[in-house]
């Protein structure tokens, strides 16, 4: 059942009515950094019923990257022969010895790119530099990395490599639900962009094995609200199902071309996640036939300690086990100007969104607003 987009006041009233009928607190988890930011930006939390919460899961690509992987990247970026190409969000993530931004200020050759193919072009135009592409992200950005590797192969480039820490969202969702320290959630708001690639049917396993409702949602305020309403109504009716509320972009089987590209270049393997440890088959690694594009191999990178900054609870935040203000560093030692954990750095990070847009819930504001809307209607 897809509810489409109804007028916002109508959806808000329905959401409050449905929540009131529940008589207990419930929580849904979004596993997409863009959802996190969109929800904060439109003030969604401030209009939600008191007993319905939307908490952030492991959806921000920078935030889920293990500290060891970030340290590896910064070390590599600081090497004289290397030009490191990275998406802008990675620039300020702190490692044990500063960030890429600091390394760039110290003279390292670090380029912010908007597409993986920009890195390939850079390698082509600078044949004497070793160009490394820092490949982070979920199924959304991984096909672009795969395309870059294929392009480099076709061009016969021997000065282009990728340091890949791509992640898969489904194994993380399963790991969360299987953990002993499991977040108390009643459903998932599934990621819009990732679902374009993997398709809506991919979430059936979550619905069936874990008895957890899944709704795939878009990013506009109205689409977010309709997904939340759909989830709440499912819980209220005691139904567990999979609903695609973003059919304009997401098809049941996803994007076969992108999937084929991923299949061609990568194979799944166990990957480390910040705060969640090693999750089986949750990462994408270059296949043997593309091994010459593996920066870890090219530069003989040694495994580094995966120790997170002392006091930082980013790992618990992205697992839905803690809210940013529960961190002793939040807003004090850790701010966007001087970040300690990645969740404060990335534009899609939960801590950054809390810090930038204010507290999640503005007391009874949602109810007050709803009353106003009702008055206007009557």
């Amino acid at each position: 059942m897809n509810m489409g987009t109804r007028p916002i006041p109508e959806m808000l009233r329905a959401l409050h009515a449905s929540a009131a009928g529940l008589g207990r607190p419930i929580a849904f988890m979004e596993v997409c950094g863009t959802h996190t930011t969109s929800a904060f930006r439109c003030g969604l939390h401030s209009v939600m019923p008191e007993n319905v919460r939307l908490i952030s899961g492991p959806g921000c690509p920078v935030c889920v990257t293990a500290q060891a992987d970030i340290d590896e990247l910064i070390d590599l970026g600081s090497r004289g022969e290397v030009t490191l190409c990275t998406y802008g969000d990675m620039l300020r993530v702190p490692g044990k010895r500063g960030s890429l931004e600091k390394a760039r200020g110290d003279g390292a050759s670090i380029e912010v790119v908007y597409s993986s193919l920009d890195a390939v072009r850079l390698a082509q135009s600078h044949p004497h530099r070793q160009v490394v592409f820092a490949a982070v992200g979920f199924e959304t950005t991984a096909p672009a990395t795969a395309a870059a590797v294929c392009a480099a192969q076709k061009l016969g480039l021997d000065n282009f490599t990728v340091l890949a820490s791509h992640k898969l969202i489904l194994p993380a969702m399963r790991a969360l639900l299987s953990a002993t320290d499991r977040p108390k959630i009643n459903g998932f708001l599934c990621p819009g962009h990732v679902s374009v690639i993997i398709g809506s049917d991919a979430y059936r396993c979550i619905v069936e094995e874990f008895n957890t409702p899944c709704v795939i949602g878009g990013f506009e305020p109205g689409l977010l609200l309709s997904s939340l309403l759909c989830l709440t109504e499912m819980v209220a009716a005691g139904r567990v199902g999979l609903v695609n509320q973003y059919p304009q972009a997401v098809r049941p089987h996803g994007n076969p071309h992108a999937q084929a590209l991923l299949q061609e270049v990568f194979e799944p393997g166990d990957a480390r996640w910040r705060g969640m440890g090693l999750i089986p088959m949750s990462g994408l690694f270059l296949r043997q036939r593309y091994e010459r594009f593996n920066a870890a191999r090219r530069f003989s990178l040694q495994p580094v300690d995966d120790r997170e900054p002392p006091g930082c609870i980013c790992g618990r935040v992205i697992s839905g086990l803690a809210l940013p203000p529960e961190c002793k560093l939040f807003g004090r030692a850790c701010t966007p100007v001087q970040p300690i954990g990645p969740c404060m750095v990335s534009s899609e990070g939960t801590c950054a969104a809390w810090f930038k847009y204010g507290p999640q819930r503005a007391s009874a504001n949602g109810v007050a607003r709803l009353q106003q809307l009702q008055e206007v209607r009557s």
Binding site: F40, S347, E348, G358, N365, R369
Partner: protein
């Protein structure tokens, strides 16, 4: 209102830890919180004086007669949809004078050129400077030229200083802003930064977005003729509308409420910002002015702005609330609320 200061885990003012940076990073030039840190830590302590510490768009001589301002321009690419570095160099400086309540008298214009710069490019830039100065009704009355070795500068950099005569009557100043006052803007926001960024980073993307770079002294003179009591004006350049309004809230100590549905943003700008993961409110403008007037003059100000070619899409976008918490709060389209803060720093490097 329901967002209370006590509930805030942060305030727009960031505590400045001592000696926060051993080296300059790009974000120090972003016009956001990090720029503030650089200025507060290094510049103000050395040059502190009452005129400078007021941190307005222009310094006003203590007799209140003259305004002086200066700006450097390092934008890349030099030419972008809707403008170029020459048009920016005149508009930016003229606008800094105009929003301070001054009529521009003359410009000083300085160029740093890189060895090897094609003559044709320099000619195009200078033609644009001349055309924009004519449009603004101001003349370049002095200048300077330097050339540095190949590779020591990226094409060309410009610096424009401007001197202006202060209008008689009360000067626009944050101190005049009081609860109940109304905020207006002369048109849609975010287009300059997005147009430059798309031109630089994604030249293959076809977009209708164009920089709004324009000298606003004509529009502002027209507004002030209709509404002599303009309380405050500022051009939301780097840091965007968010930066300017959050700054005003911090500085006055009043809460300022913005109405999201009233802020003009082109659909194309919203989509481009979404694609880049940016908030349109944080993005630079070069032909926009935020205006604050008394509530009794709001309609007259709106009419005056809308009657000018650079203000057709002017709108009332918010008001100053009676709450004294120095926050800027956005009433969102779905009826929610969120805080608006000054951006941290580098989002779009070298956009002006």
């Amino acid at each position: 209102m329901t967002i209370q200061k006590a509930q805030m885990y942060s305030t727009p003012t960031v505590a400045h830890p001592p000696a926060t940076f051993p080296r300059v990073v790009l974000a120090h030039g972003g016009g956001g919180q990090l720029t503030d840190i650089l200025i507060n830590e290094l510049v103000l302590p050395r040059f502190a004086n009452p005129v400078l510490t007021d941190l307005l768009d222009s310094g006003i001589t203590q007799d209140g007669g003259l305004a002086l301002t200066i700006d450097s321009y390092v934008v890349q690419p030099l030419f972008f949809p809707g403008g170029d570095i020459g048009r920016l160099a005149v508009s930016g400086t003229v606008n800094d004078l105009a929003v301070s309540g001054a009529t521009p008298l003359g410009l000083a214009f300085s160029m740093i050129l890189a060895e090897g710069l094609p003559r044709q490019i320099l000619e195009r830039v200078l033609d644009s400077v001349a055309a924009t100065a004519t449009e603004a009704g101001v003349r370049v009355i002095t200048g300077d030229t330097k050339v540095v070795g190949r590779g020591q500068a990226d094409g060309l950099y410009l610096t424009t200083a401007g001197v202006g005569k202060m209008e008689t009557g009360p000067q626009p100043h944050p101190n005049q802003v009081a609860p109940g006052d109304v905020l207006l803007i002369n048109g849609s926001v975010g287009e300059h930064g997005l147009a430059v960024m798309l031109a630089r980073e994604m030249p293959e993307v076809q977009s209708v977005l164009r920089s709004d770079a324009a000298p606003l002294n004509g529009l502002i003179a027209h507004l002030r003729a209709a509404v002599p009591g303009v309380l405050f004006m500022r051009d939301p350049t780097r840091g965007g509308l968010a930066g300017v309004v959050a700054d005003l809230a911090t500085r006055t100590g009043h809460r300022i409420v913005l109405e999201e549905r009233c802020i003009p943003i082109r659909r194309e700008a919203r989509h481009a910002a979404d694609m880049l993961g940016l908030d349109p409110l944080d993005i630079a403008n070069e032909g926009k002015v935020l205006v604050v007037v008394r509530p009794t003059e709001a309609q007259a100000a709106l009419k005056a702005l809308q009657a000018h070619p650079l203000g057709h899409q002017a709108a009332i976008i918010g008001h100053v609330s009676t709450q004294q918490d120095g926050l800027c709060v956005l009433e969102t389209e779905i009826g929610g609320q969120r805080i608006v803060q000054k951006p941290y720093g580098e989002q779009l490097p070298r956009i002006c």
